[in-house]
Amino acid sequence: MATVDNAVPPGEDPAPFHEAVDDPRRRDFINIAAVAWAGVGGAIVVLPLINQMSPSADVLALSTTEVDLSKIEAGQGVVTSFRKQPLFVRHLTPKEIAEADAVPLGELRDPQTLADRTKPGKTNWLITLGVCTHLGCIPLGIHEGENRGQFGGYFCPCHGSQYDTAARIRKGPAPKNLAVPPYTFSSDTTVTVG
């Protein structure tokens, strides 16, 4: 049988081994098709190997948290947990709301009003993640008596980020305001986060 690299057996007449060859040959097409199809198969196999690292069903199941607001007095805050991260729920006093509203947006690194960061008619409930947007430390200030920084919100002692009473970044290295998670008021005194 003639082969491409054609080893004509020694002592044989080479003539019958030379056939007319098209270019591209049928075999080129078969080669490319086979390798391409194997590539498709390989790519499909890789998908579950990658996707197994995404959050699993039990992690996703923990992605909503219910918070009871009835026990939180104005001026107080509680830390709960949302997606295994600290969640700051703070009941702002009228004075803190006024302080936040008095800040001109132009002065802010990440311009947002308090209204942008709360629900309509519920501006006294400031619900944010307790994760400093600089490097992910937990800022102080949710509990009474902790250092709230010079803006009366939160203070992250690790690298000195200071947040105001709307949890907006005002000073220090953090680039963004404390994140507001998606949440809804399922009743007047209950919040469903996530």
Binding site: T3, L49, Q52, S56, D58
Partner: protein, 434 residues
């Protein structure tokens, strides 16, 4: 590099040339599984199984690494972590079933690979070290598979660990001490589970390293072939690529179809339902049975029921390990100058009897230890040892082989009704294995 006419690597691009001058890795691959490795032109599909075994190991390592991202090696949570993989992790069911059945696929192809070597005399000179390394790989595989089976911490996992580590307590005087040391306790528990997990992660990479040696040792004399006759010239070989890459690729496709069938249609067919019961140190399953690939050895273990000089327990353990250690001596137990069993009419009968014997042992090993099965196990185990220690040495000395073809090419042309290009008539019996 095994033959002078092997093609030489010539980098096609400036970049590959630049790399090759600094780290000749592309050259290494080219000479190992590329056109730089000349292979006998007459290999049949039994020569696919080495590559398939390599593919099976690669699949096990890939699925194993990702499973280890979700598994927890702790007696309190191990079983639940496997169920977490099955139910919660994305594609976790697929990964675990692929890993569990991949072990079976690995053993299936390796058993065929071993019997291929037995039939075609691939263990004979000059390939003894290839064979010895193969037996080392087989032992490592058994250790790895056993430790992996313990990890889900079901009933069979636990009692398997109990029974297998019990082998070591058969050692006189120090046996119990060794067993306690192996387990890190008096029964399988967290300590054992953690070390088994650690070693189960490590050993496949050791296997991969020994496979590199196995292939390295193979490529010195070059591959054997169905006639067992040495390569005599360039006309006897074809470059590995594209000829055997294409053939192996086809075989791999068939392998993957069967593998996929197991995963998607019979994922638990080869498993034992008792392993879906969490480990309970206070209750033994009715029948402690290993996975199917250990059945023949399990039958040999259980074939010894009475004390004779040494205790029965020790005999069983010695025989079981002996049945594998025996394979190390095979190149010297078989003194026939002819490699391929195709030309050994008498041995050919005994070869197939051995295959049947191993299958019988397997059937008995998978059955409960009832008197009938034990008696059959005893006969079959005795025959297994007789085959290697008595029959093979005698047969290899007394049988008269059929005449060998003068060359691989001649055999190929004779088979396909052509004439030999060298015009040599089939000469009489050629008994020298060149």
């Amino acid at each position: 590099m095994s033959f002078p006419w092997a093609k030489h690597y010539e980098p096609k691009f400036a970049l590959t040339k630049w790399v090759d001058e600094r780290l000749p890795l592309p050259r290494l691959v080219y000479n190992a599984v590329g056109a730089g490795y000349p292979v006998p032109r007459n290999l049949n599909y039994f020569w696919n199984f080495g590559v398939l075994a390599g593919a099976a190991l690669a699949a096990q390592i890939v699925t194993g690494i990702v499973l280890a991202m979700h598994y927890a090696a702790n007696g309190g949570v191990a079983f639940d972590s496997v169920e977490h993989i099955m139910r919660d992790v994305n594609a976790g069911w697929f990964l675990r079933y692929a890993h569990a059945n991949g072990a079976s696929m690995f053993f299936i192809v390796v058993y065929i690979h071993i019997f291929r070597g037995l039939y075609y005399g691939s263990y004979k000179a000059p390939r003894e070290i290839v064979w010895l390394l193969g037996v080392v790989i087989f032992l490592l595989m058994m250790a790895t598979a056993f430790m992996g089976y313990v990890l889900p911490w079901g009933q069979m996992s636990f009692w398997g660990a109990q029974v297998i580590t019990g082998f070591f307590s058969a050692i006189p005087i120090v046996g119990d001490t060794i067993r306690v040391w192996l387990l890190g306790g008096y029964a399988p528990d967290d300590a054992a589970l953690n070390r088994f997990f650690s070693l189960h992660y490590l050993l496949p990479f050791v296997i991969a390293a020994v496979i590199v040696l196995h292939i390295w040792a193979l490529h010195i004399p070059g591959s054997n072939n169905p006639t067992g006759v040495d390569v005599k010239g360039e006309q006897d070989t074809v470059p590995f690529h594209p000829y055997y890459t294409a053939k192996d690729g086809f075989g791999l496709g068939i392998f993957l179809v069967l593998f996929a069938f197991l995963i998607f249609f019979a994922p638990n067919y080869l498993g034992h339902p008792d392993n879906y019961i969490p480990a309970n140190p206070l209750a033994t399953p009715a029948h402690i049975v290993p996975e199917w690939y250990f059945w023949p050895f399990y039958a040999i273990l259980r074939a010894f029921t009475s004390d004779f000089i040494l205790p029965a327990k020790l005999w069983g353990v010695l025989a079981m390990f002996g049945s594998i250690v025996l394979l190390f001596f095979l190149p010297w137990l078989d003194s026939s100058p002819v490699r391929s069993t195709n030309y050994r009419p008498l041995y050919r009968i005994f070869f197939w009897v051995l295959v049947a014997d191993v299958l019988v042992l397997g059937y008995c090993g998978g059955s409960p230890a009832e008197p009938a099965y034990v008696i059959v196990s005893q006969i079959a185990a005795a025959y297994y040892f007789a085959h290697f220690l008595v029959i093979l040495p005698i047969v290899s000395r007394m049988e008269r082989p059929r005449p060998l073809p003068n060359s691989i090419t001649e055999a190929v042309l004779a088979k396909h009704g052509g004439t030999s290009p060298t015009e040599t008539a089939m000469s009489g019996s050629v008994l020298t294995a060149e």
